[in-house]
Symmetry: C2
Subunit: 270 residues, 2 copies
Amino acid sequence: MAPKTPQWRELADQIADRIRANEAGFRPGDQLPQIRELVAQGKGSKTTVLAAYKALETEGLVTMARGHGTRVRRPAPHQIRRHQDRYAWEKQQAKRPETERMNNGVVERDTGLGHDQVECHTTFNAIPADLALASRFGVPVGTLMLHRNYWHSTPGDPTALSLIDSYLVHEVAARNPDLLDTSKEPWPGGTQHQLSTIGIEIAEIGDGISCRVATQEEARRLGIPPGSAVLLLDKTSVSTDGDVVEYSHVVLPGDRTSIEYSVPLERWAQ
Amino acid sequence: MAPKTPQWRELADQIADRIRANEAGFRPGDQLPQIRELVAQGKGSKTTVLAAYKALETEGLVTMARGHGTRVRRPAPHQIRRHQDRYAWEKQQAKRPETERMNNGVVERDTGLGHDQVECHTTFNAIPADLALASRFGVPVGTLMLHRNYWHSTPGDPTALSLIDSYLVHEVAARNPDLLDTSKEPWPGGTQHQLSTIGIEIAEIGDGISCRVATQEEARRLGIPPGSAVLLLDKTSVSTDGDVVEYSHVVLPGDRTSIEYSVPLERWAQ
DNA sequence: GAGTGGTCTAGACCACTGT
DNA sequence: CAGTGGTCTAGACCACTCC
């Protein structure tokens, strides 16, 4: 009846306990015994020891790098995103003068970094809407969409804070030619400001949240352990006319992100 | 000519493509070639082929079971949780007569199942509050808390829909002795009704959402692939007096859950 | 008991990091 | 080039499922 735990699991748990106990040699930044050493100590074959270390890596406790050893991971600073505040703030900012918007993007607000400490990398292209996209926007399949892929980072660090794919109906975006111009990025003031230049006001934003394990590519770009989890955010902006005018798909590092909402409830009748 | 992508990745991608293309022999429920067979075909050693299959399992494309083979997974029905509606509905239900509450729990509402098709398993115990719990509730560390662990399932299927740990201040819960009585579970009407019996009305619920890879235990109990992702929901209920009166930690299967919110925005001044 | 995945070993060789 | 993780092999043996 006792579920037999494999040797690699036992070794991983044993090391995990010592890390959690903050034992000497098992503190953040410390290098753990190398694989060959544990093999020599009879903890198992190379495959077994490696499996244990891999498990700890996926669980976010250690980092592994060729030539650099296996080290205890420094806990990543946790980022809390309060979307209700965030979206309302972004809407207010959109109507502020450019000088104010310049130094206060939503990314700067999230991270507490200055304007010059955030880099934005963007790629634009135009694609026809597939079924999923078309039904989201309520347009015919094949409608030309403006697809913008972007991510933010701090200078000198290739780690992305999030990976974003944003979609607009191309014809709508084209009302302001600057929206199609990559060289104009980063656009001070965010998407809500951009839309305001073509007379669109956002009345409501719908958030859908799910998760899955990161692809190797995502793990590399977000600087998270291979095989760890990412949060997926589907954000749909609806205009005051009731049209879906923007849709973003955001990939967030699971180990350092949480999203918060507050749900007020109506009082019971007295 | 060492390939940049490992052999096991290449094999996994190759099979994944054939599954996504819905090729014959790669449809949901179909048994994939067994490991020994692929080894014989020269796709690699057993370790290599197993690694490829394991990757596909983690990615949710296949299931593996000893003696049963590796099979293409049937896509799990996706469950969308709209918490703003859900919490408001639950609050309304709390004031309805018992006969109505009996057959309409929030779980039945989510799943569309009848009252008799949902089983609830509960464990109660009393524990002293640790620092995290105490600061959440604004009580001194060591305050006695009622801890209830429960999960729901359908009869004959040991798979849990979610894993829930709920906490109440013990002294508060004890005002209604039935709340401490395991034999009274399942309680028709949910937590908001339970709290209403001791004169507490919920004014606001705070949701915090994050994610990580499932533990082996969680994967087993939720019926999700080992190494896949789970959504974590931290739910905090605040009474009309402004006190935190209940806190739940919910583990949800990442491959079949998404959570949705709607954020209305104030209009710009005309 | 046949079928099939899971764990483990011992060792070769590859690929990246940092001195 | 030394250090250290990553991939791969060939094969033994274990554990679970289904007939």
